[in-house]
């Protein structure tokens, strides 16, 4: 199977027609992040704007998707409205298995539909249908109608955008099956620019499993590790929300727009508090027995005397940080309300929360007034934030239009850049120290998941730039390998390189198994080559002053270390990109173009 070509469906939205491509390269790129990089190299137009109709929107899965537990993620790759460069965002739900059972390794969408449309596909069908009647509908309302009008109830995945994506907000996400998201770097706006409200993938194929006894044995080994050991306990128990109390104790939880790194108020929005007061149930991505999705409830009295509605909202550490801690909203139900508002609007909840935290401090400092914010913003005022989230999704004035395109643009216009919590995009929920700040600001995805700088911060009392830099890029490489499978990164303890190789071997991917470190390195380098080709200048990354004012349990941030680590990381990125230019540049497409440094 290692030598079987990638099966890629390319759909042109302008014509509504698809083309099934068989592309070589499986033993070089594996799939997932690697396949996405290969496809971006082939299809992305790095000399054109992000919303050029020809820019591709890629969804790629890995060789082991569906074959083993927790091989349940899809890699979404695109040119980001945030910086005009290549980007990745990862999501789960049913999307990965649906693509696998539809018989595809990847879906590439190019062109722009003439009217707001829905792309529906499966192993035996492909259709682009007009859904102009869904224009402006929120994610949940659109989902209900889409479920009714599309074929294949049950075993399908429905990706859709809300009004934020339609209004091309650079902080718009793609919702996946209600509770998961391709959250960051503006994938929702890419669908909006393509006039694409939704993508429905019906997983209606049933391929044969690998031959031999080794495969079921390996499956059971992995399944046992994921369910009968402590390896995944955290994710199954409190979920990532467990981090809230842990980080608060470490003085590493960004609070009130990172004015503080801990607060007694955090106890009320801890994972423990959410579980005790709001947790309804767990859910899972298809193909994952862990069930890390935590769904809480909120109820609302809509009529006297006792008429209520209730809503179910998924929560994690990051949303709690963004609309709880950063906005000083200390009630879990109020935080869930805000998460739901962002979800419905199709906004990335992390970016929305951090953007409103900046706007609140800017209001406090007199840089903004109610003329801009329309509703007075005060830390802790959840009702005001709920209305502001609505304005972000459907901007009625220049202020919200700018804020929805990223805090850096709003701050450049109104002032307050020194307290804009930006690390490539709005920060993730870790104020652990210099290594994390550099890891997000110079991470390929600008995600806390790129290279786990937060873990290094927590393990080292006095970080050294050289060893931290080595750690970050080694970690990035191993994560590139996992996301090229495309595994859930929560399973990184289960899928050691040795076990991953054994799983690949048992599934008939011996060629990939034999080349794991080389593939990880190749994917890592190629992603950086593409990123630099789009104009990324890692040396130009700046850290807003707020980050140097942070005090963690380890003490104040060391600006010299921050700068030294940044310089070394930037150098390493250049080295990797040059390596890829040498190895892959000739056969995968775009070369470096002149472009302004676009990172703030």
């Amino acid at each position: 199977m290692s030598d079987s070509p990638f099966r890629v469906l390319r759909v042109d939205l302008a014509s509504g027609k698809g083309e099934l491509l068989e592309l070589e390269g499986r033993s070089r790129w594996a799939g997932g992040s690697g396949l996405a990089a290969m496809l971006l190299g082939r299809f992305a137009r790095l000399d054109r704007p992000w919303d050029d109709p020809e820019q591709p929107l890629v969804f790629a899965i890995g060789p082991l998707t569906g074959l083993y537990p927790l091989m349940s993620k899809t890699v979404c790759a695109f040119v980001s409205p945030r910086h005009g460069q290549v980007a990745e965002s990862h999501g789960g739900g049913r999307s990965a298995l649906a693509l696998r059972f539809a018989g595809l390794d990847a879906l590439v969408i190019t062109g722009r539909a003439a009217r707001l449309s829905c792309l529906s596909l499966g192993s035996r069908h492909l259709a682009l249908q007009d859904v102009h009647f869904l224009q402006g509908l929120d994610v949940q309302a659109a989902g209900k109608i889409l479920r009714r009008i599309l074929p294949g109830a049950g075993h399908r995945s429905i990706l859709r955008i809300g009004p934020a994506g339609e209004t091309l907000a650079a902080i718009a996400c793609i919702n996946v099956d209600t509770y998961r998201h391709f959250g960051r770097l503006g994938a929702g706006a890419v669908m909006g620019a393509k006039n694409l409200k939704a993508i429905a993938v019906q997983g209606d194929g049933s391929p044969a499993i690998p031959e031999g006894k080794d495969y079921p044995r390996r499956f059971e080994e992995v399944y046992r590790l994921a369910t009968a050991t402590d390896m995944m306990h955290k994710y199954h128990n409190l979920g990532t929300a467990e981090n809230v109390a842990v980080l608060n104790a470490l003085q590493a939880l960004p609070f009130r727009n990172l004015q503080r790194t801990h607060s007694p108020e955090a106890a009320a929005i801890s994972g423990e508090a959410f579980a005790e007061r709001t947790l309804l149930r767990n859910a899972a991505c298809a193909g994952c027995p862990v069930g890390c999705i935590h769904i809480g409830f909120v109820r609302e009295k809509f009529m006297e005397p006792n008429q209520y509605i209730y809503r179910q909202v998924s929560y994690d550490h990051e949303p709690i940080f963004a609309v709880g801690a950063m906005l000083a909203v200390g009630d879990p139900f109020a935080a869930l309300d805000l998460m739901e508002a962002a979800d419905r609007a199709g906004l990335d909840v992390i970016s929305a929360g951090v953007a409103l935290a900046w706007a609140t401090e800017a209001s406090e400092k007199g840089l903004l007034s109610a003329r801009e914010t329309l509703v007075p913003l005060r830390f802790g005022d959840a009702r005001a934030y709920a209305r502001a989230i609505g304005h972000l999704a459907r901007p009625e004035n220049d202020f919200y239009r700018l804020l929805a395109s990223g805090v850096e643009r709003a701050a450049a216009h109104y002032g307050g850049e020194e307290f804009a919590c930006l690390l490539g995009q709005e920060m993730a929920g870790y104020a652990t120290g210099e290594v994390f700040f550099v890891s997000q600001a110079l991470g390929f995805r600008h995600s806390h998941l790129d290279s786990a700088g937060y873990a290094y911060d927590q393990r080292h009392e006095t970080p050294q730039a050289e060893s931290a830099c080595r750690y970050l890029f080694s970690e990035e490489q191993s994560r590139c390998l996992l996301t090229s499978m495309a595994a859930c990164l929560f399973a990184r303890a289960v899928y050691t390189e040795e076990r991953l190789a054994a799983c690949l071997e048992a599934a008939g991917f011996g060629d990939i198994a034999a080349r794991l470190p080389a593939i990880g390195r190749r994917v890592q380098a190629e992603r950086w080559r593409l990123r630099l080709a789009g104009g990324f200048a890692p040396e130009a990354v700046c850290f807003p002053r707020r980050f140097t004012e942070v005090v963690t349990a380890r003490g104040p941030i060391d600006p010299a270390l921050l700068e030294k680590l940044k310089t070394q990381a930037a150098h390493r990125i250049r080295e990797l990109a040059a390596e890829a230019e040498k190895e892959n540049g000739a056969d995968t497409g775009p070369k470096a173009v002149d472009g302004p440094p676009a990172e703030g």
């Binding site: 696998r100 109830a153 391929p207």
Partner: protein
């Protein structure tokens, strides 16, 4: 004889591990369709999940409808499937009152054979193999599952 029941589906997290196990171990497929137990949400994920599986009718109407005896009554309820006899007419699926028989596009039917191989793969213990007395416990089993 034992039959497969799904008495605790309110615990289901929608991981499809049971369907995937059936497809993998019984039918040698990678699928969430070609399985005797299939998980679906109705009206979206916020409504939870249901298991579509054979309720072990006794006598089974699918077997009565099968013109080639590929589906034959199984002691304790449900059916024994003899694939070589199947002419892929789809009569079994049409006769099943609860939609438990999945038909592939070529007409090949898939139904639970109550082997229980899916049970250990449910992480929340939603499923259970229950002992029945041939012919006289099916009504109760239907209620409980």
């Amino acid at each position: 004889m034992k039959i497969l029941t799904a008495p605790r589906m309110e615990r289901c997290i929608g991981c499809h591990s049971c369907s995937l196990a059936c497809a993998r171990l019984v039918h040698r497929r990678l699928s969430w369709n070609t399985a005797g137990i299939r998980i679906a949400s109705s009206g979206g994920l916020s409504t939870g999940f249901e298991a579509r599986l054979c309720l072990a009718c006794d006598p089974p109407p699918c077997a009565a409808a099968c013109p080639t005896a590929a589906f034959a009554p199984r002691r304790g309820g449900g059916v024994v499937v003899r694939r070589k006899r199947c002419i892929r007419c789809g009569a079994c699926a049409a006769a099943c009152p609860v939609g438990a028989v999945h038909l592939e596009p070529d007409g090949e039917p898939f139904v639970c054979i109550h082997c229980g191989r899916c049970v250990p793969f449910c992480p929340h213990d939603c499923l259970e193999q229950r002992e029945t007395q041939a012919g006289d416990a099916s009504a109760e089993e239907k209620e409980e599952s």
